[in-house]
Every structure is written in structure tokens, then in C-alpha cells.
Symmetry: C2
Subunit: 298 residues, 2 copies
Amino acid sequence: MPSKLPPLSSLRVFEAAARHGSFTRASKELGMTQAAVSYQMKILEERVGTPLFLRKPRQVSLTETGERIAPVVTEAFELLRAAFVMAEDASHNLLSITTVTTFATNFLAERLGNFQILHDDLAVRLDTSMSVVDFSREDFDLGIRSGDGQWQGAETHLLIPAKFSPMLSPDLAQSVGGIKKPSDLLKLPLVDASDPWWKLWFDSMGVQSEGLRGNKRSRMGIQMLEARAAEAGQGVAILTPDFYRDSLKRGSLIQPFDDVCHDEGRGYWLVYPKARRNMPKIKKFRDWLLNEVKEHCN
Amino acid sequence: MPSKLPPLSSLRVFEAAARHGSFTRASKELGMTQAAVSYQMKILEERVGTPLFLRKPRQVSLTETGERIAPVVTEAFELLRAAFVMAEDASHNLLSITTVTTFATNFLAERLGNFQILHDDLAVRLDTSMSVVDFSREDFDLGIRSGDGQWQGAETHLLIPAKFSPMLSPDLAQSVGGIKKPSDLLKLPLVDASDPWWKLWFDSMGVQSEGLRGNKRSRMGIQMLEARAAEAGQGVAILTPDFYRDSLKRGSLIQPFDDVCHDEGRGYWLVYPKARRNMPKIKKFRDWLLNEVKEHCN
DNA sequence: CATAATACATAAAATCTCCTTATGTATAGT
DNA sequence: ACTATACATAAGGAGATTTTATGTATTATG
């Protein structure tokens, strides 16, 4: 439908030449030679079918037609420039992160304020969702995901290894006279008995745990739900202690055993596209986050 | 000052792709392959520093940033398209002519109305000036000039040969008892004795005309002034009869001798740039004018 | 459920645009 | 007259853009 436009490069040149009333000055602005400007204007005039400049002795001036279109072309280019300044600005100053709920709730939420203060030029958009990150399909700069760190094309940093240990509410522990040895836990309901971590943990403690099949994939991403259930006294959950420092300190959860299992290789990872690893906003967040993790989780 | 824009070709592609929400459809509109669109969008995204499209299974959709700039880019391109429609329109439908005064007054003025009626899609701008036509320096489609038809780079058509014969007002003729033979004219003042045509004409009539030097260049372009002087009875002028049919018919001028001299090669010419000889508006005017001349000046 | 069809990505090669260099012309200033 | 300025033009080449060919993922279909 839209009628054919002249070569766009010639329009850019026209815009500058019209603004300066001079091919030479336009060429300087555009960082090209005067010959190139002359050439482009010839192209454009041929295309439009009518001269746009009058060649006076030592200067050029616009013809009637040129005079008519020049301001419109200038306006159009200003729109474009404005649009891309906006875009680049957004690209530099808007940081959007997608993270698994657990990490957002138990780690990021309470610390993000710090980051914002540190980098008040960055606006942060935080999205919590569990789905796999695919940066080519979703509009995020960085993601935090649980897994084994194998995401192709992505730069990854292990934030928190998948360590785990049982936790429960003090009341629940009291209800069976306290938890003295691992097998005491089996007297209580497990929040999610199918979580493979249970078997791993009991195995490592040398406790026979028939019936714990561990046939499900780990659901680290939604640990948080299990944690809430445990806090509410509904059962024992197997959780990552690093995330529940606060609850443990407050006493809303207790960790009966210091023994922490480690699901080697798995954990919470920071992920972002390799190609964008050098963007300032990405560096800023990465550096900040890695430092927070280091400081906070021994 | 203006910040650098991304490659313009990629913008054109982006505009179409955003509008269609599809690389394939955009490629069809732009008359290129889908691969080319994909490539251009990659370029643009690299340049802007952020993705503009999300690659979904069998479609693409704009990212937040893409969404933000798309309407602006579309608007800019619409401005450009509008500007060039205007320009092309003007280029097609505005005919500007520069002509020597004599020809305008004595020939064109009374006939141009006809042309306008015949081609009411063309707006005619008529400029009368004597200066030499240089289409690269002045904004005209066609020129009518007197001379020998030697204008380089120009297409030329002889309209009216430089024929000439003395003319004067009837009263003036009466004042010397009428003009019977050429030498009678010498009893009267010549409007411009230095006009070389005088010598040519007297010579051709076999009349000795000492004192008529003819050292000036012909000033055909301003014959009209001499004609007015002659009509006012101020002297005898040497004029091109074709231009003064009306005055002769009205009787405000008389041409005492049918003998008409011919300054071979010289005359009134229609001139226009060779490069533009095929423009419809130029053809229309040329054909009309040549026909008018043929019909009117035997 | 296998197959075909659709939409986009990517690599390599061909093409073509655009720019530069070099030079020429005309004009204004000294 | 001479120099400097501004634009035009031609030739050559670097680089950008496009196409061709192929791959991948997803949806639709028999």
C-alpha cells in the first residue's frame, strides 16, 4: 500500500544538506565527503523527478519543491531520533529480571531496595514466574532459575547451591517431644514426601526411609510454598537453609540438624544471554548480586 | 548534534515487520526475502542494544521497547511518504516556465488560457525575465529564449524565426506623407538605431544606411519595449511581424513593406533540459506550443 | 502419531550500493 | 591574475545487503 520511498540514505543526506544549505557542511556533519553528498542528492533528485537544490555559484539553495519537503523530512528524522534515544535509554536504564518465586521471596525482596539505592539510574522490573527462561522468547535481561546451570547460550553464575535440611515449626517438634534423631522426623507428616531431597537426606544420615520414592523432579522453584506450610505447622519440609535464615532466627522454623545435604551441581543460578554480558546494567546487577550472595551466605 | 540513527534500511524493515507482526509478510511487502528481514532485524537489535521482537513459535511479537518505538517509526515513515507524494505531485503537476517578455506579451499571454483549459491538471507558473536560462540554477521546467538555439545540454525547438520588418504608427507615417519606399524611413527617428537588424534590413533592400552601425547584440528579448515606443509614435521600430499581428490588425502599427528579413538561425526558442524531455508535463506543453506556433504563424 | 506446512534463523556467496579518491569547473575574494 | 571555496563527475573498491540453501521448532492434518 505505502508508496515507494526514495533511498533512505539519500533522505538522511538531504535532510542535513537542506538544514545547512550546503553540501560541504552537510558532508562534515555526516562524516562523509562532499562528493558523496553530491552523489546522493543526484540520486534523490533523479528519483523524485525534479531538482531539489539550485546550484548557485558557491552555494546551493532549495528549489520550491525542496523547500516544501525539507521541513517534513527534518521532522520525520527528529521523530526517529527521539524514538531511538528513548529505546536506547530504556535499553540502558530499565533492568528486567525474571526469577523463581522462592528466590524472590527469600532473598531478593529484602535486598533489592539496596540495589535501587546504589543504582538509582536503573529502573528495576521484577517478574516472578517458574517457567523456563528463554531470552529470545521473553523480554528479560536476566533470570534467576533453579537447575544444574546448563543453559545453552547463557552465561550462568551459581548463586546458592542446592543444600537442604529438614525444617519444621517449633510447635510441631514439641508435639512429638522434640526432634532428637533423624528418624524422629518420620513420626511427622512430610510437607511433600515425594520431594527427592528427602530420600537424599535420609540416605546421607543413614536412615532407612522406605516409602520415600523421590520420583518427582526437585521443585526448588516452589520451595517457598513448602516453607509456608512448615511454618504453619502442617508438616516437615526439606528446605535450603540460606533462604530461611530469618525464619530460623525468628524461631518460626527450626532446623533440628546441622547436617546439610548438597545436591551437587544443582542450585539457584543467575542466567543471562552471553551476547549481552557486557551491558552496563547487566554487569551492575551481576556484581551486586554475587556480592550479596557472598556476604550473606558464608 | 543529532544523535546517530541506526541503519535506515533496517528501520524501514522494522516498520513493516512491526506493522505486520511477521517477518515473512513484511518481506513480501518490501519485495525481499524473509532471510533479509531477519538479518536486518538482527542488525537493528544489535544496534539498539536490546531485542525488539520476541521470537515465538510461529510468529514474532514486539518487546516492550519495540512496542514503544514502532508507532513513532511508522509515523516518521508516513511523514516521509507524504512529503514525497507531495513532491512528486508538484513535480508532475506544476509547470513553471520562464520566458522573455516579448514572447510572453505578444504570444503566450493570449494563448495560455487555452493550455490551461486543455490541461486543467497542470498548474502553470509563468515568469518573465530576460536573463539567460540555466536550469541548474533556476527552478524552471521550460524556458523560452531568443538566440541561435545553441544551449548545451538543452533540448531546443525553434518557435519563431527572427524575421523582422520596420513598423511604425500610422500617424508617424502620415507625418512624412506616408512611407512609399524604404529610404523614406530614414526621415524618421529609429527607436533603436543601434539594433543590428536595421542594417541587415536596409542592406537587404539595397538602401545605403550609413550611420547604422549595428554594433550591439540583438535585443529581441525586449522587442516589446521598442514596439510600445513605436505605437506611441516615437519612432520606427524593427519588429517581428508574427508578434504584432494584433497591432497591425488593429491599426496601431503599420508595416509599410512586406519584405521581411530573416536573421538565419536566430529566433525564439523553446528550451528545456534534455534529461527531462520525457516528463509528461514537458511533453504536453511542448506539443501544445509547437502546434500553436504552427497554426498561428503559417 | 507421522507428515506436511509454516515461520524464523543462519551461513555462504553474490550482488550492488555507497563512499572515497582524484580531478574538473565556476566563482568569489585578494 | 591568483588563490581559495564550493559543487560535479568518473572510476574504483570496500562494505553492506540480499539471495540461496538449509536447519529448527511448532502447528496443522490425515
